[in-house]
């Protein structure tokens, strides 16, 4: 489910960075307030456990294919939501940095899609309700499977929304949803079964581990949700606003894709609201007129017809693109070689 940088617009990537940074800071604060520092090495080792566990491929019955553990639900069950979120985020950062899994701009999206839903939705609202107190094999199996399936479905849908909002991929919304959701339903069921097997094993061998974690750091009642949400909204608007000013000429991919594939007119951009505000901001601030929104009398977005929506391409521009691009690449390579020789001489 890792997203790559190339399919993201800076506005979407930056907004999700802001959201994820907010959740990370909030989780870190919650953990810091807890007096128990034995969790620190446990978190580090369990992060490494997720890495190591992903190396064990198990065969999936009937299909003939194989899979590996995702790990989100196991961490949430063993560590509670805040610590599990930080561990999953750290695993995703190390994967992005050292294994080229997912990108650096996409980190915010990837952490949100793969860590937020299991830790802050599936674990407190599904698993704990079903198997939190007095677990049995049956409760663990139902709890883990249901929460793994729902967390993965939400994560997969989030991938679709983020990709569509970025507007780089041409995959139509309906096709993308129909591609992502069933695949992740299957993955979720398998993930749920394996998680249930591991949790049941731990429960049988060391029941005190599960008891300790189920009594520890549940999502607190009376959480200042309004303040947290307001913080996220401000951070997201700020980042999204700044980055969409810097972004490409196709910031509105969802609307554009929908209109092209299904002719769904009701997805026309609203005149007011955040969208209109950002559009207006971009219109006022854009350096290059051809990278801005098209002008119309008001601040509303006005899309031209499909025929005129394509970039104006004439043979002259094409030739200049090819020759200019090639020349630039050559120049960049030559400059690199020159630098390499200079650096070699300096040593």
């Amino acid at each position: 489910m890792h997203m790559a940088d190339a399919l993201l617009s800076p506005a979407v990537g930056g907004t999700m960075w802001a959201v994820t940074a907010g959740i990370t800071a909030y989780s870190a604060k919650k953990l810091k307030d807890s007096p128990d520092d034995s969790r620190v090495p446990l978190m580090g080792v369990l992060g490494a456990f997720i890495f190591a566990a992903q190396m064990i491929n198990f065969s999936i019955p009937v299909t003939g294919s194989s899979g590996h553990l995702g790990g989100g639900m196991i961490l949430a069950i063993l560590l509670g939501p805040y610590a599990a979120f930080l561990v999953l985020a750290s695993v995703l950062i190390v994967q992005a940095l050292f294994f080229a899994d997912g990108g650096i701009l996409a980190l915010g999206c990837n952490i949100f899609n793969m860590a937020f839903f299991p830790c802050f939705f599936a674990y407190p609202f599904i698993y704990r309700k079903i198997a939190g107190q007095n677990p049995t094999y049956k409760k663990i199996l139902i709890g883990t499977t249901l929460s793994a399936v729902i967390a993965l479905q939400l994560g997969a849908f989030s991938v679709v929304i983020e990709t569509m909002a970025s507007g780089i991929s041409e995959l139509p919304f309906n096709t993308f949803v129909l591609l992502m959701q069933p695949i992740h339903l299957a993955i979720g069921i398998v993930e749920g079964f394996v998680t249930a097997a591991v949790v049941s094993f731990v429960w049988k061998e060391r029941p005190e581990v599960l008891e300790a974690s189920s009594n520890d750091m549940p999502l607190q009642r009376g959480l200042p949700l309004k303040k947290v949400l307001a913080g996220f909204v401000v951070a997201a608007l700020f980042t999204g606003g700044i980055l969409s000013w810097f972004a490409s000429s196709y910031p509105d991919g969802l609307e554009w894709s929908m209109a092209r594939t299904a002719g769904v007119e009701e997805l026309e951009a609203p005149e007011g609201g955040a969208h209109g505000f950002l559009a207006g901001l971009q219109e006022k601030l854009a350096f290059l007129p051809d990278y801005g929104f098209r002008q119309s009398g008001t601040v509303t977005l006005e899309r031209p017809d499909t025929e005129t929506r394509w970039p104006a391409v004439d043979p002259g521009t094409t030739v200049s693109g090819f020759v200019g691009g090639g020349l630039t690449l050559l120049l960049a390579g030559a400059a690199g070689l020159l630098l390499s020789r200079t650096a070699g001489r300096c040593k």
Partner: protein
């Protein structure tokens, strides 16, 4: 399965070897490298989806970093190639859904889908190679300390440091478990059944938790109070690190707002 384990192992080990170099780029403050890598990712992804020529000047960044750091080109290429499935999958659907003919090349119609596929692939290669260069030129402890200095909560930085230290250790544990399974399971040695995987992962988990407990006792015995202190704290030099950030951000800004390939073309044809 054993082969995949070996590849992952080797990647981590070779990365830490390359990152312990002493070139100008290796010596830079990790904060400066983080900021420049992020600025690069934002710049590369900010171009329109049909842009190809205007992405070319950005190749100067990985070229220059390879030249200045002395990192082996083969290492950068091999690690970038690890992301090839992601890179190719990212834009693979575009040619099927965007069949609008954009340009005609010597009578061969080139659709928007193929142009955007090429653009997505190029920007993927750019961004992935910049992240690869970041990890190959910065020791992981400095890389994560840099994040802490940029304002990332200390508990999260400690988590990253711990994770990084334990990966190789636990990967070794998995290697032993997998080898024991392979030696006893004949023709089914390459895959573990779903039910057996529960016990295998469970044993690995309990061993990991025991290790965490031992580590915690050892840390407490040495006065651990929740913070990991380093002997040589990071120092941001404005002359070196500040200049590095300013020069690259100015270059990325110029590439983003000035059509360099078009200007070069004009210069080449004498207009």
């Amino acid at each position: 399965m054993a082969k995949k384990l070996d590849i992952n192992f080797n990647e981590l080990v070779s990365c830490s070897t390359a990152a312990s170099g002493s070139s100008l780029v290796h010596r830079l403050d990790p904060r400066a490298k983080w900021l420049v890598t992020l600025a690069f990712a934002v710049t590369a992804t900010s171009f329109g989806k049909y842009e190809i020529a205007r992405l070319m000047p950005l190749f100067f960044y990985p070229f220059a970093m390879i030249a200045l750091s002395g990192v082996a080109v083969a290492d950068v290429l091999r690690r970038t190639a690890l992301a090839a499935p992601f890179i190719l999958l990212a834009g693979l659907f575009n040619p099927f859904f965007d069949r609008h003919v954009l340009i005609s090349l010597w009578g061969f119609p080139l659709t928007g889908g193929w142009v955007s596929f090429l653009s997505i692939t190029l920007r993927s290669v750019l961004v992935v190679s910049s992240v690869v260069l970041l990890s190959l030129t910065t020791r992981s402890d400095r890389l994560f300390s840099g994040l802490g200095e940029l304002g990332v909560p200390s508990i999260f930085v400690v988590q990253l440091q711990f994770l990084n230290r334990y990966i190789l250790l636990l990967a070794g544990e998995v290697q032993r478990i997998v080898r024991a399974h392979s030696l006893r399971s004949g023709s089914r040695r390459n895959s573990v059944s779903l039910f057996l995987s529960g016990s295998m992962l469970g044993i690995l988990l309990l061993k990991s938790m025991d290790r965490a407990a031992r580590v915690h006792w050892a840390m407490l015995a040495r006065g651990f109070d929740g913070e990991v202190r380093t002997a040589c704290p990071l120092k941001f030099s404005w002359q070196r690190d500040g200049a590095f950030v300013l020069i690259w951000v100015a270059f990325f800004g110029a590439v983003r707002f000035i059509d360099i390939p078009f200007l070069l073309f004009g210069w080449a044809v004498g207009k």
